[in-house]
């Protein structure tokens, strides 16, 4: 598989994102949230630094997930609904190359977005003399992995449903993904074997997004071990890869 068509699609997707108003609205919202952290810190008596760090990390996380979801759901379904896919697929490009290009394009957008937000976050911390610790970078790295996974979820759903259904499913999976630990506990305490089997199945099927969430710990300045960092990153990337490969397989079978 040659990379050239993938890069052409990716750069065009990135250009599309840059010219899309939704991206700037979401980015503005995230930066506003970060600004609010300063206001909130001023209003509290203690833990000014922790609030700035908490809110900053939450803003990067929320901004990334929102862009991944609301741009990701239209990555493929919008191409089919608007029939732009007809002329693209008439070119010497395989369907897998198209899917990979679309995914890579949004990943480039998200990388730029996370870097911009991280710069604003660091600027805010330096302005308010909040110590910058290694744990913050670890948290942002895992936020980025989570965003890659959510993008893959949105892409996966958008290969076989409409944009609105993709949005519902992606948000649903995101919420479930943060409740998997609770789900396991619920399954263990259930009296019904059927419910236990169903919830346990769901636990293993849904992504465990809580394993990528170390924001609370990072805000207090406690880093996670490098082994945990590597395992969580590997888990997130493997899950995203499986979703992207599945998206390619589904897209190959589609009629337009």
């Amino acid at each position: 598989m040659t990379m050239q068509p993938i890069l052409v699609i990716a750069l065009n997707t990135f250009r599309e994102n840059l010219r899309d108003k939704i991206l700037y609205n979401l980015l503005f919202f995230a930066v506003l949230l970060m600004g609010a952290s300063v206001l909130l810190a001023d209003l509290t008596i203690m833990e000014h630094h922790k609030i700035i760090k908490d809110m900053g990390l939450a803003a990067i996380n929320l901004g990334g997930v929102m862009i991944a979801t609301f741009v990701g759901i239209g990555l493929v379904s919008k191409e089919i609904e608007r029939r732009t896919v007809y002329t693209i697929m008439a070119r010497p490009i395989s369907r897998a190359q198209f899917i990979l290009g679309k995914y890579l394009g949004l990943v480039i957008t998200l990388s730029v977005n996370v870097v911009v937000m991280m710069a604003v976050f660091l600027g805010t911390m330096l302005l308010y003399r909040v110590p910058v610790q290694m744990a913050l970078f670890q948290a942002v790295e895992l936020i980025f992995v989570e965003v890659l996974l959510v993008t893959a979820l949105a892409l996966f759903f958008s290969t076989f449903t409409s944009s609105s259904l993709s949005a519902i499913m992606t948000i649903g999976m995101y919420v479930i993904g943060h409740l998997t630990t609770d789900m396991k506990g619920f399954a263990q305490n259930s009296q019904s074997e059927a419910i236990m089997a169903f919830v346990t199945g769901l636990y293993y099927l849904c992504p465990n997004l809580e394993s990528l969430n170390i924001k609370g710990q990072a805000a207090t300045g406690i880093p996670v071990t490098l082994t945990y960092q590597a395992l969580a990153t590997g888990y997130g990337l493997l899950y995203a890869t499986i979703l992207v490969v599945s998206a390619c397989a589904i897209f190959r079978k589609r009629d337009f």
Binding site: E16, T84, Y86, T87, R91, P92, I93, S94, F256
Partner: protein, 318 residues
């Protein structure tokens, strides 16, 4: 040499309601398109034209039958380098400028930047959009979009150009521009396969025509062969100086007679009755004005095929 070979193609779609039979879009359609010709694929809306084109381009899979382009199965990625395609009522990335748009499609076709630079300007000039190179497509009219769409179809200089309803929705000037462009492609030795339901456009520029209805190819061949075959052409005779009422035999032969002042017109069913009528006109002292064979148009053939009982019954669901 065959560029396109379609053999016994079938395709049906689920009706969307459980229990209802599937809708047949293509029902054993077969056709051939040879190198260097303009082939018009003519049919009413819903006849199966777009479905055939989508299968040709690998956008859709057939239920059965074979489709080959340049000897390779439809959907073969490598063969697409040799094909240009413009879908019906195309929608393009409207955030791109015309120049960016053509560059993007050229890059997808594997052209390098240096080749593309000249090619983009050349094509924009060809379709009359050089002034709009830096304008976003969202500010284009429908006719401009159709023209830039045609430019993307031929950006990589393909051997085969497949166009789905390329003149649909265009004003007379736009239609002429598209027709000229298609004729220009033939002059360059390209093969053009295009679908349309606008009969005069097909009749005017196509070397061969295929008429499709209800998913079946009803007739295919040269336009003059199709409109001339199996039916005798009628002939229109105009004369002056003698009233048809005085020529009893003419009234028996002619299918239509018309008189305006000193001038009369008679339509006779075939060439062999012409001599009899002309002799009669002269013997009665009349003066022959004109003898015009009535050439049947593709439209008449098209309408006749559509009115055939089996087609009509299928269309009304009888």
């Amino acid at each position: 040499m065959n560029v396109i070979r379609v053999d016994n193609l079938t395709k049906s779609f689920k009706s969307g309601w459980p229990g209802r039979p599937p809708v047949t879009a293509l029902d054993g359609l077969s056709l051939m398109v040879t190198h260097g010709e303009i082939f018009g694929f003519l049919g009413p809306n819903g006849a199966g034209k777009t479905t055939t084109l989508k299968i040709l381009m690998g956008l859709m899979r057939s239920d059965s039958g074979t489709v080959e382009i340049f000897g390779q199965p439809a959907g073969n990625v490598a063969v697409r380098k040799r094909i240009g395609f413009l879908p019906e009522s195309p929608y393009f990335y409207d955030y791109l400028t015309a120049g960016e748009f053509l560059t993007f499609y050229g890059q997808l076709a594997g052209l390098d930047r240096s080749t593309l630079k000249g090619r983009v300007s050349q094509l924009l000039d060809l379709v009359g959009l050089l002034d709009a190179e830096h304008r976003q497509l969202r500010k284009f009219s429908k006719g401009m979009l159709q023209r830039v769409g045609l430019a993307q179809a031929i950006i990589h200089d393909p051997e085969l150009v497949v166009l789905d309803e390329p003149m649909s929705g265009l004003d007379p000037l736009g239609r002429k521009q598209v027709r000229d462009l298609i004729l220009g492609l033939r002059e360059q030795g390209k093969t053009v396969f295009f679908s349309s339901h606008i009969i005069p456009d097909v009749e005017m520029i196509c070397d061969r025509v295929g008429i499709v209805m209800k998913g079946k190819l009803l007739a295919a061949g040269r336009v003059d062969e199709l409109v001339g075959y199996s039916h005798t052409q009628s002939v229109e005779i105009v004369w002056e100086g003698v009233s048809p009422a005085r020529m009893g035999s003419v009234q028996k032969i002619a299918t239509h007679i018309l008189q305006r002042g000193m001038r009369a017109l008679a339509v006779v069913p075939g060439q062999h009755q012409v001599d009899d009528v002309v002799t009669m006109i002269r013997s009665h002292g009349g003066r022959l004005v004109s003898v015009t064979p009535q050439k049947r148009s593709l439209e008449e053939l098209f309408l006749r095929e559509a009115k055939k009982p089996e087609i009509f019954n299928e269309a009304v669901g009888a």
